[in-house]
């Protein structure tokens, strides 16, 4: 079973529907004991970093998530991915979970797209991911594929953790982490077949690491 961490800041049901389509059982929960019983954890999220951190702290889930991320396969999605780093420029500066070294920065409106035009913010739509390191997450994807993004801040993890990059005004780390502790900036649950493949790869890894 995959547990989807429920902290009222997310698209938990979209993630659950995507796993259900793959025939994978999930449970949406905020109970640390239930989360600890899962084969793997998905940490979703949409919205703002400040509010999400406030929700995590208020429910005491911040501590539980920090501990579980050490002992269970863990996949952060979108805002969940950003919160795994140390801090974010969003909401005037927010300290986040610090599971992986690095920071989240705001896209700069003076940045330019490859055609020379200023970027639009949010970065919304389909964009390529260029794998820069092998990862079980990429199994069966076959090179560059496109995924669905929606975000106004971008992650900048320690370069040692970068697994895949995307170009939008600059080249940013759209997939990062290490085996069993992954962060993806895009929405795998909304990225068609390649997105579903990422979720099924995560599940396979969870089952294999039991």
């Amino acid at each position: 079973m995959i547990a989807i961490i429920d902290y009222q800041a997310g698209n938990q049901t979209s993630v659950q529907r995507a796993f259900a389509h793959l025939g994978i059982e999930t449970e949406i929960s905020a109970d640390p004991a239930r989360l600890a019983a899962a084969d793997g954890l998905v940490f979703p999220g949409v919205g703002a970093a400040g509010q999400a951190m406030a929700l995590l702290t208020r429910t005491g889930l911040d501590k539980a998530v920090r501990e579980l991320a050490r002992s269970r396969p863990f996949l952060g999605i979108c805002l969940g991915c950003q919160i795994m780093l140390e801090d974010s420029q969003e909401d005037g500066g927010v300290k986040t979970l610090g599971l992986i070294p690095g920071h989240n920065l705001r896209f700069d409106p003076t940045m330019r797209e490859e055609d020379g035009r200023p970027i639009r913010i949010p970065h919304m739509g389909w964009n390529r991911i260029r794998p820069v390191r092998d990862s079980p997450l990429f199994d069966g994807l076959g090179g560059e594929r496109q995924f669905y993004f929606v975000h106004s801040y971008y992650p900048r993890p320690d370069p040692a953790y970068v697994l895949g990059r995307t170009d939008y005004g600059l080249s940013f780390a759209s997939v990062f982490g290490r085996d069993g502790l992954w962060a993806v900036q895009f929405h795998p649950e909304k990225s068609g077949e390649p997105g579903l493949r990422i979720l099924s790869n995560f599940y396979r890894y969870c089952r294999g690491s039991e």
């Binding site: 797209e113 739509g125 496109q146 649950e189």
Partner: protein
């Protein structure tokens, strides 16, 4: 580089498509869930649903459609049509839509945009605007005005000023429907599209007038749109989504290639 999006638009009344959609082999489908699934498999980048049901009963039928769509397709989709409260936005988002499209209700009460953005994030709030050419006046410096009720009622609002106001209020995207070209199949309203797209920094979806692949190309290049809404050009099997994407790709327009084959 970010891909330009092709977004089929489906009108739903009482849980059924208002017009059937013909796929290759002239299979005519009226079920919005089945049609959404087909477009998903063909490589649509997103889907827009407009609920044109009037009754409260029909609304519940529509929410059921939204839920079934969410279980069948794994790309973003948005829902519009008569949404005028945060409670209604919550209902369609919980049913599985990524975005809600606000139109007339936001003209009436612009704070609806900021309330929606505060509750669900800007990424979930699309401003749908219907605009048409109007004489330039001090109140309407852009030469385009906003109309409501399917283009019948003028509001006196300047289209450009309204787009910029909506961005400030927290809209994450604008779906710009040009009333003058809507249904003509003569091409999108490029002057209007470009004017709005250059005046805001959020993405703009061009809508109204697609009859040929080159129209879509024009909207995405000259018109500076991030996405193109398509209806009859794909619904009546004149062009398929993979054909439109190939056309754009051959002309150097970045698109997400249509999926090769179904695997999962």
């Amino acid at each position: 580089m970010l891909s330009k999006r092709i977004i089929p638009c489906l009108d739903v009344r009482d849980g059924q498509l208002t017009k059937g959609v013909k796929f290759q082999g002239n299979i005519d489908l009226g079920d919005p869930v089945a049609v959404a699934r087909r477009y998903y498999e063909e490589g649509a980048d997103e889907i827009v649903f407009y609920d044109i049901t009037a009754s409260a009963e029909g609304r519940n039928v529509f929410l059921d459609v939204v839920e079934r769509v969410a279980e069948s397709i794994f790309i973003p989709f948005s829902v519009g049509g008569g949404i005028d409260s945060v409670a209604q936005m919550r209902a369609v988002l919980l049913a599985g839509a990524e975005k809600v499209s606000l139109n007339s209700a936001a003209v009436k009460r612009p704070e609806l945009i900021s309330e929606g953005a505060a509750a669900f994030g800007s990424q979930a709030i699309v401003l749908g605007m219907d605009a048409r050419r109007a004489p330039v006046s001090p109140d309407r410096p852009s030469g385009y005005e906003i109309v409501v009720r399917g283009g019948r009622t003028p509001t006196g609002l300047d289209a450009l000023a309204w787009a910029q106001k909506a961005e400030k209020l927290g809209a994450g995207e604008i779906c710009l429907n040009a009333i003058d070209t809507d249904g003509t199949k003569d091409g999108y309203e490029l002057t209007l599209t470009r004017m709005i797209a250059e005046a805001v920094s959020i993405p703009v979806i061009a809508s109204g007038g697609a009859g040929e692949p080159r129209h879509i190309h024009e909207a995405l290049t000259e018109g500076r749109a991030s996405a193109a809404l398509v209806a009859s050009i794909v619904h009546f099997n004149e062009y398929s989504i993979p054909e439109l994407k190939r056309y754009l790709a051959e002309r150097g327009c970045p698109v997400r290639p249509a999926p090769a084959a179904k695997t999962l």
